[in-house]
Symmetry: C4
Subunit: 231 residues, 4 copies
């Protein structure tokens, strides 16, 4: 089942090391099929050289494996929560890409310092709090999803407009309408995390992007007035 989506998810997972976002198997990509309400995700800890499209695992929103001989990524429940709660998301990506992980370790939100940010993210990328010991011991990966959702709720951020989050002491989760888009958003996040560290060092008083430019760049690529690209 979902063979085309499996092929897409497989390819997107291979893209993570190719784009310098992960080493070894330190990441995972999934994609959601809205018709069947199922999602396809990478198996846990399988060497990318040996992994095949048919190894992808099919799961439902209750975190159950529906099809597949291998265990799904241990982060599978986090993906499930995001598909369930964030509505119209086609793909979720998790990496330990170094610059985004550095921000996650610092516990700080990534401010919008430039148009590279504004082209993809409409405002700050939040950093979710540490999980409590109770949450960790209950169902760690599932609670991780809940803490992400809580973060967006409390801060009133629209996950369609800011398709990424940092987990304090951990690493980023990123999403998008398709695998390609979600991986691209992960690349953008990594790039702006790198640039923003050094922007702050170069000029500790550097201003964040004026609202009018933030609006302009986000709207150039998103929504009904978008005019970037071929349509």
């Amino acid at each position: 089942m979902l063979e085309a989506l499996k092929a897409e998810v497989y390819q997107a997972n291979l893209e993570l090391p190719d784009r310098g976002l992960i080493k070894y198997t330190w990441g995972n990509v999934s994609a959601f099929d809205s018709e069947s309400q199922l999602f396809v995700i990478k198996p846990s800890g399988v060497d990318y050289d040996e992994m095949k499209p048919e190894d992808m695992v099919v799961c439902n929103l209750d975190c159950e494996v529906v099809e597949g001989d291998l265990r799904p990524s241990s982060d599978m429940p986090t993906h499930a929560v995001l598909y369930k709660k964030f509505g119209d998301i086609g793909s979720v990506v998790h990496t330990h890409s170094p610059w985004a992980t550095t921000w996650a370790q610092s516990g700080l939100a990534v401010p919008a310092m430039g148009t590279t940010h504004a082209d993809t993210f409409y405002g700050d990328i939040p950093c979710a709090r540490f999980l409590t010991t109770e949450e960790i011991n209950k169902n760690y990966e599932y609670e991780t999803g809940n803490v992400i959702v809580e973060t967006f709720d409390e801060k009133g951020i629209n996950p369609q407009e800011v398709p990424a989050v940092l987990l304090h002491g951990h690493a980023p989760f990123i999403w998008g309408e398709s695998c390609d888009k979600a991986v691209m958003n992960a690349v953008v996040l990594e790039e702006i995390c790198k640039m923003n560290i050094f922007t702050r060092q170069l000029n500790p008083f550097a201003e964040t992007l004026p609202k009018a430019i933030l609006d302009k760049h986000f709207e150039r690529k998103h929504g009904k007035n978008a005019y970037y690209g071929q349509q």
Copy 2:
């Protein structure tokens, strides 16, 4: 029309990711034909793997498409203004290369700290101001060009001697007599932006290059007394 120039512009655009200046389609190169007063530019948001030389778009200095089935780069009007106002420029490049973009985000000019800088840029590389909300809402990309020209005018900088600018909160624009030269200038800019951040960190009191060395190195490669290279 302008088939040779289209091939050149096509190649120069492919060079941007190869030289680590951009990811995905986050940049564009154009080239100017002084005889016809037209310029050739990359189409907007087309995947580099699928892009062909004949996809390049021909525009005039009034920002009109003269030939081409695809939309030109959304930054096209900025290119038009630079060709119109800066006189003898053969090619314009725009990238979001990370170190130059970091300086652009910091809002600071790039000082001449070494001969790597002086070999290409005769003095500070300026950072243009944020556009006003009015300018953003009028014709963003066209006004971006105007702000660049204003910067060079106000500071009395000769764009032939300093072939690059940073846009505050955005990224660099770079130019040169040919596509090859403009791309090379973009590489030099990226390299000195990287080195200068760390020069400052290593020694906050590091002196800028003495005027006599700046002159020497710029003149070694430019003007009638140049003696670098084979002629």
Copy 3:
């Protein structure tokens, strides 16, 4: 003798430059055969392009060459001490990878700032003290091994739980159950050393990982309750 292990050690040594951990011949990998109580190590200073599996040198725990036409790595005695004292170790790796070496030069332990660390290292990665002049002049490489063992003893760290050490003013040693695992641990160390430098710069008050998350991530991949991967 030990032909299969020689092939493994040979491959692992080639992996060091491929993974960006070393330049030229600035590193070495060995592997231990518990049955014969012998270990196989790279020869000293041989160009990787010319090195062959049969060039690997077989040594015993008394630092004697048992088989091989070439001199073993000059760091051989350090490997011998680690196999002798740390019990169940299958492979030892030495690199001068830049970020880990930067921490070694700084003389500081690497704190657990995130789950990338916790997935592999259960707590701080210690930095061993400088050798005394006497130790240096006695048997430098052997005493280096002793100082590593002393460090783990004094701090009460289990080398199975923290499979790496920094040598002050020198570089890291890393180990693992197999060559593959030891090289992977060297990659993790390099990555966290890079991220932790910038985490501190971004937020000097960044908290280390809460104990409950450290436990969770280490136990996800190690011990009887591990549930990462396919078994």
Copy 4:
């Protein structure tokens, strides 16, 4: 004449971009033939893709071209002075490698912070002063050589023991007994310049390497008691 040496110099020049030490043609390697007292150097500003071994230029110690259709590197007189004054040097390398250039821009000597340094450089790598305006206007490249020699003389540094120098506001010159060795020394310099910047940032109070370890590591690889490698 000197065809074998030309081939060696040609190869060493190609190695500079391959090892990430230069971009475009921003560097040069030469090699000295002690019998004829001539040296072979790269031509000025020739694209590496088009350059051939027979394009290498032969010069004498009076900075005259003895053979070759192309102009020699504009830095040729600096090379000549080093061969003339530093005695037993087989090859000279000039690069604008980013981390070494960053130190050169900062005007600071590179301290010996670790054994990666001590394996190649016996103590601080000095930074030569800015040239005076008079020196710049007289014979810039020749005077650059003189200032390097002056630096080693005044500080009492043996150029055989510290085979590199930084030029303030410019970049490094590196040398060695052969092209291979000089390029390798350039790689070591680049690596330690990178690591030392971050060592200082990580721990501003980081100690330089104790004298006994500096001695040990330098002597492990140099002089009559060397025991690294296969002889």
